[in-house]
């Protein structure tokens, strides 16, 4: 599977420059702001979208067909995308963690428990997008799977707006939201999504 991961890293280096720039801008804005959840969570959402972007490039270049002739199982082809997605999410989360630590420290609101809860919440968010999207993409392809992307973006916008209207402070939210339950549910969803994607892709005719 190492070859698959190297290939995806090459693709991220080539096509992911806009992604890196967006993440950097959002982290800087959130660092200078007051803990606005949107600026912190958006990089997590788009890092979760990376595997779908990679699959779309694979399909455009017919790599998915070519890979069918290489010594990889369909399970490995699916796992490659989940592994690369997870790795990128962790990297983005690490960058946010550093920026948030500085912001909280500067604003003198740093508290270990709320900081960790925030990171766990962000990690859960970054798992949510691929969990929901990847099974559809592996079943129907990136083109049709994009419909799910628009649904998720719409739901995120509606959810964010509703959340902002409640006037809830993010620090209060992460300390009181039963974050461990959210995390457990996200991990469960991610694992189920992974297994479902393997199942779908094994049945799909390339």
């Amino acid at each position: 599977m190492r070859g698959l991961l190297i290939k995806d890293l090459y693709l991220i280096c080539k096509y992911g420059r806009a992604f890196i720039l967006i993440v950097a801008v959002f982290i800087v804005v959130s660092f200078m702001g007051d803990g606005n959840m949107f600026f912190i969570s958006y990089p997590c959402i788009i890092s979760g979208l990376l595997p779908m972007t990679l699959i779309a490039y694979d399909e455009r270049d017919k790599w998915d067909m070519y890979a069918g002739g290489l010594p990889y199982t369909k399970t490995q082809l699916v796992c490659g995308k989940y592994v690369i997605g997870l790795s990128m999410s962790v990297l983005v989360l690490a960058a946010i963690a550093i920026a948030e630590a500085f912001r909280m420290h500067n604003a003198q609101v740093f508290a270990v428990s709320s900081y960790l809860n925030l990171l766990l919440l962000l990690f859960s968010i970054s798992l949510l997008v691929p969990s929901l999207m990847l099974p559809f993409v592996f079943k129907f392809g990136a083109e049709k799977g994009r419909v799910i992307y628009y649904v998720i973006i719409a739901l995120t916008c509606v959810g964010s707006t509703a959340f902002v209207r409640t006037g809830t402070n993010i620090t209060i939210f992460v300390s009181n939201a039963g974050i461990y339950s959210v995390l457990a549910a996200s991990i469960f969803l991610y694992v189920m999504s992974w297994l479902l994607s393997v199942c779908f892709y094994k049945k799909r005719e390339i």
Partner: protein
């Protein structure tokens, strides 16, 4: 030993059926799969690679069923599809690095030797390659991991005649080793005629024939005669007929041609066209 055996293979889509296909490719041989667009050549390749599910039949590749831990068998198969499938932003050097961690038997020295031999630039992006250059890179990859079987789907299309000749020589060279074999599909029948030991005709999902190339040439001839003269030849010996203003031309079994009828040698391409049209006329 046979490099590949296909028995009773069936696959149906809406509007297309691959119908009880039987093929046997002995080791050390090159088999050419000839057929028009939609004849089932790519479907056959995909079925061999288990990229699509067969409805029935068996496929044995290098002695193993292609559903039985096929990942390991694929280590010994070199594949070039009609669309090569290498990511467009990569260059040949990066492709080599990916393949090094893909194939256990990857031979970096052989790969770079092929890049030089086929004049493939190492640092140019794949998207900037011509179609011929893309094919050549696909072929270089397929030949650089000590494969025993090459599956080539329209691998010579888009190449200019000089490069095609060069590539065909490489394929012929490849099968000098007894344990190696090649299955190649192509529209360019003259290419197949040049290098193949066996020729298989696929038409609308049906195998019209699969025979040693030299036997095909020995067995069949084209007769040029009148309709009345053609009636003297047993219909079972006639494989295809073309009528024109001057009479008829037909592909027939050489031994069944009565004396006095004018004949000319049949090329593989003519044989295929006559047989395909004969099949359509049925």
């Amino acid at each position: 030993m046979n490099a590949m055996e296909i028995k009773d293979l069936c696959k149906s889509y809406s509007g297309f059926t691959l119908d009880h296909l039987h093929l046997t490719l002995p080791s050390g041989c090159i088999m050419g799969l000839v057929g028009e667009n939609g004849a089932g050549k790519s479907t056959t390749m995909k079925l061999i690679l288990d990229m699509i599910k067969r409805d029935s039949g068996t496929i044995t590749v290098l002695g193993k069923d292609n559903r039985d831990n096929f990942r390991l068998t694929k280590e010994d198969i070199g594949v070039v599809l009609d669309v090569v499938g290498i990511p467009s932003c990569l260059n040949a050097r990066q492709v080599g690095k990916i393949m090094k961690y893909t194939f256990h038997n990857w031979d970096d020295a052989a790969y770079f030797a092929y890049l030089r031999k086929l004049s493939i630039p190492e640092n140019k992006k794949f998207q900037d390659f011509s179609r011929g250059m893309k094919m050549k890179l696909g072929i270089a990859v397929a030949l650089s991991h000590r494969a025993k079987l090459l599956l080539l789907d329209e691998a010579t299309s888009g190449l200019d005649p000089v490069v095609r000749d060069e590539i065909l020589d490489i394929f012929s060279e490849f099968t000098r080793e007894e344990s190696h074999a090649v299955l190649i599909s192509s529209h360019i029948v003259s290419d197949l005629e040049k290098i193949c030991d066996y020729i298989a005709f696929l038409h609308k999902g049906k195998l019209l024939l699969c025979e040693e190339k030299d036997r095909l040439r020995e067995q069949y001839t084209i007769v040029h005669c009148t309709t009345e003269a053609l009636c003297k030849i047993p219909s079972s010996a006639i494989k295809g007929i073309k009528k024109n203003a001057y009479g008829v031309e037909a592909i027939v079994q050489k031994e069944k041609v009565p004396a006095g009828i004018r004949t000319s040698p049949a090329s593989i391409e003519e044989l295929f066209i006559f047989m395909a049209k004969g099949e359509d006329a049925k």
